[in-house]
Symmetry: C2
Subunit: 212 residues, 2 copies
């Protein structure tokens, strides 16, 4: 078995279990058992459990962040070329759409995005720090773009409204995750359709952000 094969198996199993049970509540035994590899393989290939978490984030978040960054910069560039300010809904879409799209990827990425959303409010510093470290530069770019799009608002207002949007997105990601149970009120049909939910969120968020 080649090196990368075992590493990939471990990453897949860790992603699956971290998302469903949490980092601290997932043992290396559970990971290696699910991956079908030896217990000692994690420490051989990654060094420690913490380093494994970092590797799980790295594998998917680096490509995802590249997409989100390219999208955001395209929105700014287009607006600049057309001599107008970037549109709020375009900026939000550049960030939100590729994020929620993980849900319909059909690969283990579905689990990954749940892991990221949960990491945002994880009580453990270890986990939350990994999240913040990976997301901070991108969040900053989104914030700047929205400030350009909404020059009549104070940066403070834009900042907190953006936090509301981040919170809303994180929550629906958790809710639509595999092991989240909630009782739908009578008359409400479950929305399995990622595109509809994305559109609903972007409309809601843009309307709230643009309030005078």
């Amino acid at each position: 078995m080649s090196i990368s094969d075992t590493k990939e198996k471990i990453l897949d199993a860790a992603e699956y279990l971290f998302a469903r049970r949490g980092f601290h509540n997932t043992s290396l035994r559970a990971i290696t058992s699910r991956a079908g590899v030896n217990l000692a393989a994690v420490n051989y290939h990654f060094g420690s459990k913490d380093a494994l978490l970092e590797a799980v984030f790295q594998r998917r978040l680096v490509p995802l962040n590249r997409i989100r960054r390219d999208n955001l910069e395209a929105v700014r560039e287009t607006a600049r070329r057309e001599g107008r300010r970037p549109a709020v809904d375009e900026a939000l879409r550049a960030f939100i759409e590729p994020t929620l799209a993980f849900r319909k990827s059909g690969t283990g990425a579905e689990d990954f995005i749940t892991l990221v959303a949960r990491s945002m409010s994880d009580p453990e510093d270890t986990v939350r720090d990994v999240f913040i470290r990976h997301i901070a530069p991108l969040f900053h770019l989104l914030f700047e773009t929205l400030c350009e799009a909404l020059p009549e608002l104070t940066p403070d207002t834009v900042f907190w409204r953006l936090q509301f949007v981040i919170g809303a997105m994180g929550h629906v990601i958790c809710m639509t995750g595999k092991n989240y149970k909630y009782a739908l009120p009578a008359g409400v049909t479950p929305v399995d359709d990622v595109e509809s939910l994305t559109a609903l969120l972007i409309d809601f968020a843009a309307t709230g952000l643009e309030r005078p």
Copy 2:
């Protein structure tokens, strides 16, 4: 030392530590050590660690839910008497204001509301189930009130927009918690003022909910 004294001490310590480190990551030894009581006291007074979590929720969530329920029913009653529909921002305020007010209570309730917000997306079923069990009836009442306030929207739309609001509120509760670190962008001043943040959230949420 009386019975209730020891029980209260344990509840205070558990609340503090569960909020900051998470349920699974907090040992009974850490709790009893902080409370200044014997290790065996938790199992004597509460039966198990799970039962202790339930008691921590009970102590503060029962009174809080009574306030939120009374507020919501007052909003409906006033609207009915005046022959109009309930206002969206009034309904939101009835729910959000007493929740965020925990932050400035000066007691351990500050920690408690962080614990609740984090429980919403906790990876462990044990924790999330306690949250859902306590919040479900109240969420249902808020949902119904908003459906009355927004009869031109489908229940599906109201449901998901309300979820966005819940997510936004939970996220700012986590963010303003004691041990949450984040880098403020240049030009943004930290908002310590709970009232301002509450108003900002209600305005944002009402605007998004009322979108046609």
